[in-house]
Symmetry: C2
Subunit: 453 residues, 2 copies
Amino acid sequence: MKSTKFVLTEKEMPTSWYNVLADLPEPLPPLLHPGTQEPTILPPPLFPAALNEQEFSQQRYIEIPEEVQDIYKMYRPTHLHRAYRLEKALGTPAKIFYKYEGTSAAGSHKLNTAVAQAYYNKKEGVKRLTTETGAGQWGSALALGCRLFDLECQVYMVKVSYYQKPYRRILMETWGANIVPSPSPDTNIGRTILSQNSDSPGSLGIAISEAVEDAFNRDDTKYSLGSVLNHVLLHQTIVGQEAKKQMERADAYPDIIVGCIGGGSNFAGVFLPFIPDKLKGKKIRIIAVEPEACPSVTRGPYTWDYGDVAGMAPIVKMYTLGHTFIPPKIHAGGLRYHGMAPIICHLHRLGLVEAKAVHQVPVFKSAVEFARAEGIVPAPEPAHAIKVVFDEALACKESGESKTILLALSGHGHFDLQAYDEYLTGKLEDYEYPKEMVEEALSHLPKVMAEMK
Amino acid sequence: MKSTKFVLTEKEMPTSWYNVLADLPEPLPPLLHPGTQEPTILPPPLFPAALNEQEFSQQRYIEIPEEVQDIYKMYRPTHLHRAYRLEKALGTPAKIFYKYEGTSAAGSHKLNTAVAQAYYNKKEGVKRLTTETGAGQWGSALALGCRLFDLECQVYMVKVSYYQKPYRRILMETWGANIVPSPSPDTNIGRTILSQNSDSPGSLGIAISEAVEDAFNRDDTKYSLGSVLNHVLLHQTIVGQEAKKQMERADAYPDIIVGCIGGGSNFAGVFLPFIPDKLKGKKIRIIAVEPEACPSVTRGPYTWDYGDVAGMAPIVKMYTLGHTFIPPKIHAGGLRYHGMAPIICHLHRLGLVEAKAVHQVPVFKSAVEFARAEGIVPAPEPAHAIKVVFDEALACKESGESKTILLALSGHGHFDLQAYDEYLTGKLEDYEYPKEMVEEALSHLPKVMAEMK
């Protein structure tokens, strides 16, 4: 009988992360210090030495510590699924596979790096981690990661989400994290904003600033970021390495790999382990999908910009819509970042990764069809990738080609059902590309831009 | 390195359900017709012939149809986990294993029978299934089961839950089911109740009556039940058969099996495949856990009672608190049934299964400790079983014995986080055994009781 899932045992789980920096045809541009504009490392008061080393390592494979592997084994390897029912529903000759990360307790791929970051911080004597969260997916993962290594976890949660998404907050609290609505009276930046507007709904930018300030001010505390940086993408490569083994077991190889990009870590985790094959001449299309409302790679310039809104983080070379840009309130909260992981931007510049932007209404239409065929209700973020998988599968139907498509399905939508309700009742709306707001934000790029061109 | 999970491939998935009726030392008492009080089958207008046959079959193994196996493979075999971190947290020499059913798209074991029931109905030409749901776990599973076999699904959802648990409703709607708040104006019983009280919050009893009336009135429609009946327990035995294989792989055998019981299908699914060993003299304690607020097996008489509130369903011999008993509103909605699966009651009478009742505050205390050790946030129902696993593991700590405990972890609590919030903020309360309400309800047992003693 045909196989629906490709299952790996714990013994088959990869024991190293794959570091693409070792294989890049051209080196990645440096990080610049936000003050001096000189090449810099990650701020040591915020990040442990081991993660700083990984951020710039040129070693092709980096061993996953045994303690991290032990935690990974609580939910990994995850399954690779063949979407037979979806193929039939679409009437396509394409073969569709999906690698699903929603079965971990945190419900998404984010746990892969949360566990690793908690481990390295613990090892260097850190007692407490801070972070920010909007919709709550990253905050949940770090809350669990910290719990598993007995670290305190302080999450600054955008105030409007704190009140609108109580389930995400409760999940983090169940794992023992301390959740504060941001802006909070606990930091200088929070107090300043509250003194200007005591009803401020908060923003991810403010929450980042609070989490960073908190970590700077306490010796026992460091800061943790859930995407964008090289070491975060590195930790996610366990996903793609598993998928590669599982595709082999399915006697298949992807012609097309599709994933969504917000900060870029989920998709990079899936496709990076295929990059060496592509560099050796293997024909694989790697399609990164972003929202029309926040289309950094498809519409933004490739330039130097701050990683955060307040301009406290290093300056990085990336596709950006401007660090002061606040994207429209699409449901895919994880895709509302102004920039993009430098590694993904660099690979796009090198012609190894392509990008597409899609609107949320057709995204949810595809997500509902996916759920009705495959059961799984996807999170709004990977639903963006599903839309493009549908497009490619229907193109195969047109052309008669039987291409093999691999979808990065990063997590479930159990805490995002309000968005499904809006779609099902016809209330969901699209947001056009906010051209003028982006132009305004791009006028605030750091001045280093001119010098570095 | 030690194994944390015991993984089966699709090829290792059991291909038959195990039917304990073939092995019972004494036969199960018959079902009685609610009108004639004569032994009866399940009402044919409500149930397809194949399920009626399974209800009374004496065949030890019943083959799982290939179409059902194909759907099972979308999420099965599920993993058996060794709870190393929990053992360490409890400081117990006990070995704790748990079989986790929360990774299916529906989030619980309920999908195992929903898929089977949808298949047999479809095969006999049924176009539409009706059911009732309270908290929504069973409704979700049937919504997905119906979608996978292209059946319409009509769910009568207790009105108070319909408005208080919108996520469960949206999940069912995402899979294409039609959800109606009950009491509804669509049935005679619904209209009658609404004419008496247009603000009626509804009850599971009313919702059952509406679903049954709907199915009786339409030739293309049958009714579907998510627990209690023999065929439902049968479909769940795939869980225990997998667990048995996985325990073998772990080189272990359970001294104690613990699960929660509401209608009884989840726990029966896990322990029934171990009954033949126990009948052959193997020493296994099988502990069924129920809430103190609805303790049918620990406090109810073993007698004849209706399966439903309206007295339209067959009369069955079981432990019951009276079919008119409405239990206090504990968070474990799935454990609020007045009776219990006849198979479980019979095995309890025969001394093969024991029962314990627990309060919800210590239940949630255990559930939070479990989540902090193992990551998974359990549904309130299996959290009851977790409490007793803790008790047994701590007894081992006391005695120094290294017993092997198998926990039936039937699903996740993603849609039950409000209950966790109440626990974490000290607002959760216990309900004492409602003795007087039970005594009142027991005065309404059907009169057959006397004759059949």
